[in-house]
Symmetry: C2
Subunit: 111 residues, 2 copies
């Protein structure tokens, strides 16, 4: 855990979030600044800053997270959805704790 990281604090239960999924390794919650009618963030609980910081010891974690994405979307009654990861400088990444956006509903923004 990175004590300065807001997503680590959410994962630890020290900051509130509107959770929709949680297990021992991953968590999903609503983005507080939604860019679509349904906008979720899916994170590993482990502090990993960016995709560049993943290594092969995270393989099981990352495949679990990716396989969870359609399950989490389905729970929100999303038929189609967009997954976005902003990664590093200039990409729009604000929080440096890896997070997968799920954007769905009536207003999926173009990219």
């Amino acid at each position: 855990m990175d004590t300065d990281c807001i997503f680590c604090k959410i994962a630890a239960g020290d900051l509130p979030a509107k959770k929709v999924y949680e297990d021992d390794q991953i968590m999903a919650f609503f983005d507080i600044h939604p860019k679509a009618s349904v906008h979720l963030l899916v994170i590993p609980k482990k502090h990993i800053a960016t995709l560049n910081d993943l290594n092969t010891t995270d393989s099981a974690l990352i495949s679990k997270l990716v396989l969870a994405l359609p399950e989490i979307a389905k729970e929100q009654k999303l038929e189609g959805f967009r997954v976005v990861v902003n990664n590093g400088p200039g990409s729009g990444q604000i929080v440096y704790h890896l997070h997968f956006h799920i954007l769905g509903g009536k207003q999926i923004p173009t990219f």
Copy 2:
């Protein structure tokens, strides 16, 4: 292989693509309709239509693909980049063979 799938044909070498990475399981090539100054598509060679069609037997494949994303971006000299997966109806998915967009360079579009 799905014989009607253009990405299966690219993976098999039956259709041309400007490849930037290839191994026995995954391939990366330039999008022919770029939405950023660098716009790549990263695919599993195996025909998987959407994220919803992944199952646990694909875990090693999907983690390998995700871990390859920053490596492929680095080869293109991208410091920051965006990863996008359009998934299913209404999302903008055109080819129903799972593909991860990498968008980078000077013109990463907003989402």
